[in-house]
């Protein structure tokens, strides 16, 4: 005889009938039909949906007050990027500072994990609170440095362990 035998209880007739559960579900449906106070549907695009401040969307490159990008071409974001979507060629600007000559993010390849923002030592590259990026050509989804600096949507707040709900 096997060591453990689990004795199963056969369900009774009242439990096998789904009539009660169906009626319960339909009651809820009709309740919502009559009182539409808690609608989930947002009438986009007439209505703007509210996005979480920790939403990770289209990238933003932060700039200094004089308009230069904050990026110092350290190469950490292309290194950490799991989708391999960042292309960076470092160089020097006219003031002798390390500077990204080429900085491109392929928003199609990007998986919006936000690791580029987390790893950036100078808080230059950010993922943004933004999701509306439609274009007519695929090439337009490769954002170069100028385009990243032009993005005017807010950048994402990183998750703060001391404030887990971003309140």
């Amino acid at each position: 005889m096997p060591a453990t035998v689990k004795v199963m209880r056969r369900p009774e007739a009242g439990e096998t009938s789904y009539l009660r559960a169906t009626l319960k579900g339909m009651a809820l449906t009709f309740k919502h039909l009559i009182s539409p106070s808690r609608t989930a549907t947002v009438q986009y695009p007439e209505e703007e949906p509210t996005i979480s401040p920790r939403w990770r969307g289209t990238h933003v490159m932060e700039t200094h007050a004089d308009g230069r990008p904050k990026c110092v071409a350290c190469g950490l974001c292309p290194t950490v990027c799991p989708a391999n979507c960042i292309r960076l060629v470092g160089g020097e600007d006219d003031m002798g500072n390390r500077y990204p000559i080429v900085y491109e993010i392929d928003e199609f390849r990007c998986i919006f994990c936000g690791m580029c923002q987390e790893v950036c030592p100078v808080e230059a590259i950010h993922v943004g609170v933004h999701f509306e990026n439609a274009e007519y050509t695929r090439e337009r989804f490769v954002y170069d440095l100028d385009r990243l600096m032009e993005q005017d949507h807010p950048s994402t707040l990183l998750w703060d362990p001391s404030d887990p709900r971003s309140e």
Binding site: V72, A73, C74, G75, L76, T79, G90, G91, E92, G96, N97, R98, P121, V122
Partner: protein, 536 residues
């Protein structure tokens, strides 16, 4: 333990509980390295003297009153050394904290980041957070001349650069100025290290980002680079180097230690001549001559008609080789010429008027011959023609009426009518050249950076190199089509691997006999010296 007797040449000591026997006069640091235990250090470098001033390699020796600098303390019989004890670790942590009191945390913009010893050591055993509240000293950056840029803030005052210029280059151009906290490396004169032929090495030995290369500045991150062991192709010294590559381009050359050839160093002449390996104009597919010029084809499409032409026999054979191709390719060419009935093979090689020795290690010299494999070509019975700039000498061949083979030489000084009268003209090269216009067949071959092979240096040392780049299109190592043609002509089996192709060189020249890839290893082997494999 350690009871070796006093007249013995070796001593036995215990390092972190592991017993090791080393020759007398070995320092504790070297003995630890023999055990695979790398004690952190800055000022010590195996090629230079040790001033014991960085205070990072301090270890606890049982019975000694205080911690001993392991880079200058000789290993004694029966010594018991602790490198990971509380006091040794605490000392290292303290010393590292002092270094960081003034070292800027600019790793994101520092070229050394990723191969920086301070970064490594602090990451391994430094404090999590700095406690220094005082402002850091600021020196800014300074042009040291030549290829060297100096970031004074990052310097840890190990003085390796000063000692290299004093001891190895024996051309004191650098010194320490000021005292205490303000001490800094500086140049004596305005020109700095400009014109010193070995000054690029101070960038290599700088453990931090204080000395950086202008050529490599901001070019690539250290962790992005692939390192491939290779041989410097810029003179017949055959310095062991690493090709640092990224995106299928050579980004820089670094010396690879080989105590028999170049110790830890290489010359600036060789270091800065790598751009030709990145040339984009390449022969990518085999070409066959038609009435109106060359037609691209594939390997079967070129080898069959080529073999047919060779079999027909088109008159006396003459060949031009290049001292930039490997022993294997030269041997394959010699076999093919032999299979065609024999003929003279010539090569041209550039030659400098002067040699540039490194005074501290005179065996390392930028040699007269500015090509890597002149010795190999000569061993295989080829003769040098032409002038010292690697041109001319082929006037007679230009009008040759028989079979003409050219391997590797770009024939830059020759025009499109070269070989126009030849009954069969076969050109194997990497780069398109006007001199191949008249060729009946053009075969694309890889450069030494893209293939595996060997060079024979000035003293007859056969040294291996490995492929670092991907060859373009259908380009193949030159030995492959050449030995295939030779084998088909003779009805023998063609080598399918490069080590088999090398053995062919041993069949042609007694100097190479007995050598094999397994016995050459990474240090190289002198021709005709070791007899590892039986003959035949």
């Amino acid at each position: 333990m350690g009871d070796n007797g006093h007249d013995s040449d070796t001593v036995t000591l215990t390092i972190d509980g592991l017993e090791v026997t080393v020759p007398k006069g070995t320092t504790i640091l070297q003995a630890a390295e023999a055990l695979g235990n790398r004690i952190p250090h800055y000022c010590y470098h195996p090629g230079l003297s040790a001033p014991a001033q960085c205070r990072l390699c301090l270890v606890e020796v049982e019975g000694a009153p205080k911690l001993a600098p392991s880079c200058v303390t000789d290993a004694q019989d029966g010594q018991v050394v602790h490198t990971e004890s509380e006091s040794a670790k605490g000392m290292r942590q303290g010393v590292l904290e002092f270094y960081l009191a003034n070292h800027p945390l600019d790793c994101p913009i520092c070229d050394q980041s990723g191969e920086c010893k301070l970064q490594d050591y602090v990451f391994e055993e430094g404090r999590k957070h700095g406690r220094s509240r005082e402002p850091k000293r600021v020196f800014g950056r300074d042009d040291f001349g030549g290829d060297v840029l100096f970031y004074g803030d990052r310097c840890v005052m190990c003085t390796r650069c000063v000692r290299f210029m004093d001891e190895m280059a024996q051309d004191p151009r650098l010194t320490v100025v000021e005292r205490g906290n303000r001490s800094i490396i500086d140049t004596f004169f305005e020109e700095g290290v400009e014109g010193s032929p070995y000054s690029g090495n101070i960038v290599d030995i700088c453990p931090v980002g204080a000395l950086v290369s202008k050529d490599f500045l901001h070019k690539a991150r250290a962790w992005d680079l692939d390192h491939t062991p290779s041989i410097c192709p810029n003179c017949s010294q055959g310095c062991n180097i690493d090709l640092h590559t990224r995106d299928n381009l050579v980004q820089r050359l670094k010396p690879r230690p080989n105590l028999d050839v170049n110790e830890y160093w290489m010359c600036d002449y060789g270091r800065h001549r790598y751009e030709w390996m990145n040339r984009g104009d390449r022969i990518e597919v085999p070409l066959v001559r038609r009435d109106d010029g060359h037609e691209a084809t594939d390997w079967p499409g070129v080898l069959e008609p080529l073999l047919e032409s060779l079999r027909e026999g088109k008159g006396p054979v003459r060949a031009v080789a290049s001292p930039f191709v490997s022993n294997e390719a030269l041997a394959a060419l010699a076999s093919l010429v032999e299979a065609l009935g024999g003929g003279e093979i010539v090569f041209r090689s550039a030659r400098a008027d002067t040699e540039i020795p490194l005074p501290g290690f005179p065996k390392l010299t930028r040699r007269h011959d500015l090509v890597p494999n002149r010795r190999g070509a000569e061993i295989l019975g080829m003769t040098r023609v032409g002038s010292d700039d690697g041109s001319s000498g082929l006037d007679e061949l230009a009008d040759h009426r028989g079979t003409l083979l050219v391997l590797g030489d770009e024939l830059a000084d020759l025009g499109p009518d070269f070989g126009a009268r030849a009954s069969l003209y076969l050109y194997l090269g990497s780069h398109p050249t006007p001199a191949a216009t008249a060729a009946d067949f053009v075969l694309p071959i890889t450069t030494h950076a893209e293939e595996e092979g060997t060079f024979t240096n000035y003293e007859g040392r056969v040294q291996r190199f490995w492929p670092a780049l991907q060859g373009p299109g259908a380009a193949r190592p030159a030995w492959l089509p050449l030995s295939l043609l030779a084998a088909r002509m003779e009805g023998t089996r063609s080598p399918s691997r490069v080590d088999e192709a090398f053995l062919r060189a041993g069949e042609l020249a007694p100097e190479f006999r007995g050598l094999a890839y397994e016995s050459i290893g990474t240090r190289g082997a002198l021709v005709n010296e070791p007899a590892v494999l039986p003959e035949g």
